[in-house]
């Protein structure tokens, strides 16, 4: 157990040192998401949106998009980080060196994910929290919801990040994983448009993304959007998704280790 924590800590520290050595990068981690957020906000402007999906005015829209974007950025940063790290680690030969050690492989994946998460999204999360406070979604009287909501997001993103990391680490051309994940996840998990307004086929697709349940839960907690959705079913959905993701991570990691010992290659897909 101590070793698992040690490996995770090492990965977190390494992520911090490795990726973010310049304030310029920090700047961009706040700037891009904020600009993207604004673009979505302005994309709503050509419509008379009042009264739809529980969104009454600009304040409601901001709160809805704020939570959506915060969740999405956490999940997406995992994909992006997994992609860039897998490339660098493979090119630099450090991946093989890590495989030379007896360190727990799952701890490595989750450490990387958590490290990247803490590193990458805190500033944008501050921006989103600012918006949630400004729009009175978070207030002094419901401030206790904040740790619950942050904890939920952190846990779900780390589990997701571990899986994406495991997949990317072992695939030759993981930018494809990125393309196939980015658009559907962004569109179908309810980041920008309430899932309830989708046609049936799109709603069915949305069930595949853990982010969908995560956002549903968060918005329910904060009373954003339409009331009436089931808390319990979202909770179960998220639980199932997380169990499946951990299962996939374990399976992929084991297979790759075996494959690597047979062929000496870390490229798998």
């Amino acid at each position: 157990m101590k070793n698992i924590w040690l490996v995770m800590k090492a990965e977190i520290v390494k992520q911090r040192r490795h990726d973010y050595h310049s304030y310029f990068v920090w700047f961009s981690l706040l700037l891009w998401p904020v600009l993207g957020f604004l673009e979505v906000y302005y994309t709503y402007q050509p419509f008379s949106f009042a009264g739809r999906g529980g969104i009454q005015d600009s304040q409601d829209l901001l709160a809805f998009l704020g939570t959506g974007y915060m969740g999405y950025t956490c999940f997406w940063s995992m994909v992006q980080n997994a992609w860039s790290m897998s490339w660098e680690e493979r090119q630099g030969g450090t991946l093989e060196m890590a495989f030379l050690t007896p360190a727990n492989r799952l701890a490595m994946h989750y450490g990387k994910a958590l490290g990247a998460l803490i590193q990458e999204v805190w500033m944008f999360c501050c921006f989103c929290l600012f918006i949630l406070f400004r729009t009175d979604t978070l207030r002094w009287d419901n401030l206790l919801l904040l740790p619950v909501f942050l904890g939920l997001l952190l846990l779900a993103s780390t589990v997701w990040g571990g899986m994406v990391g495991a997949l990317c680490l072992f695939s030759r051309d993981s930018s494809l994983i990125m393309d196939f994940l980015e658009t559907p996840m962004n569109l179908f998990s309810g980041t920008r448009i309430p899932v309830s307004s989708f046609p049936l086929w799109a709603r069915a697709l949305s069930l595949l993304f853990p982010l969908t349940y995560c956002l549903q839960l968060i918005r329910m907690l904060l009373h954003i959007g339409e009331p009436g959705s089931q808390m319990l079913s979202s909770f179960l959905g998220l639980g199932l998704c997380m169990a499946a993701m951990i299962g996939i991570t374990v399976w992929v990691t084991r297979r790759v280790e075996r494959h690597n010992r047979e062929t000496g290659e870390l490229n798998f897909f």
Partner: protein, 291 residues
């Protein structure tokens, strides 16, 4: 003692012929029926041309890849079955500049890899301190690796390879592409690791001179099999050649060393041998152009 008996490794290559046709299987034997031993405190060399199976052998012995057949034990433990436990006892150092995080400093690199081996706290910091002194990088320990020269990176690789205090070390062309002074340093270091710290070292090299200087025992590989083995003396006696009397002019290497020695006022050389010298190239000397 590492004991390998009848180790073979056959890679299976799957090649796709066209988009929809089935992949064809092709078996490539990389190593065929190799038996060798590596006792602690000894340096065992493996020589051979490119593609002779040297690297595959190293990777098998270091339990990075599993053999197709044969047995491998490390201090009596089945290294194929218990490869994770074995990884605690071995480490690999290869030549070149890879295998390090360039944006991290030497200290951060070592700390990271130390953590992966389950080391932490005072014990780890002490070990890092000792290793940095051993490879002569103490002064630049907080400089990012990307600003290091080739030789400094290679020395940091050696420190990384020693971070888990392995009983057995596998060196794959450790002096590849280094200048003669640094190569000499590294050879001295390898010798000390075996003699003073009782490490079993398996060395793969292209430089016959290097093997001759360092190795207690040699294996010669060709197309995946051992074609000759023995101590230097045994190998020499294979063909019963009479000793040659040669008048030789001092070779260029000697001259170069002399020039460098004189330039340094005769002090650098002795310092280096003691392993406490400042790094051969300062980080400032190599800043331009690198990405």
């Amino acid at each position: 003692m590492i004991q390998a008996e009848h180790l073979s490794k056959t890679y299976v290559l799957r090649e796709r012929n066209g988009l929809f046709r089935r992949k064809s299987r092709r078996e490539v034997p990389a190593v065929k029926d190799i038996s060798l031993t590596l006792p602690p405190g000894k340096i065992v060399g493996v020589l051979g041309v490119n593609g002779a199976g040297k690297t595959t052998t190293i990777r098998m012995l270091a339990s990075l890849i599993s053999p197709t057949s044969g047995s491998l034990t490390i201090d009596g433990m089945d290294a194929v079955k218990h490869h994770l436990q074995v990884k605690q006892q071995v480490n690999v150092i290869s030549g070149g500049e890879r295998n390090l995080y360039w944006r991290l400093t030497a200290r951060e690199n070592l700390r990271y890899f130390g953590n992966l081996y389950g080391l932490s706290g005072r014990a780890l910091e002490d070990r890092i301190h000792r290793l940095l002194a051993l490879v002569g990088l103490t002064e630049v320990q907080d400089t990012p690796v990307e600003r290091y020269s080739k030789g400094m990176k290679q020395r940091l690789q050696i420190a990384r390879g020693l971070i888990n205090d392995p009983r057995y070390l596998f060196l794959d062309e450790p002096t590849l592409g280094l200048d003669i002074l640094i190569a000499k340093d590294i050879r001295a270091l390898i010798l000390r690791l075996a003699r003073e710290r009782n490490k079993g070292i398996r060395l793969t090299t292209h430089y016959i001179q290097e093997a001759e200087e360092l190795c207690d025992f040699l294996y010669v590989l060709e197309k995946g099999t051992v074609i000759a083995q023995g101590t230097k003396e045994q190998l020499r006696s294979l063909f019963q050649r009479p000793p040659k009397l040669v008048m030789q002019e001092p070779d260029l290497e000697e001259i170069l060393m002399e020039i460098l020695r004189q330039r340094a006022g005769g002090t650098a050389e002795t310092d280096r041998a003691a392993g406490s010298a400042a790094p051969g190239v300062s980080p400032e000397e190599k800043t331009g152009g690198g990405l």
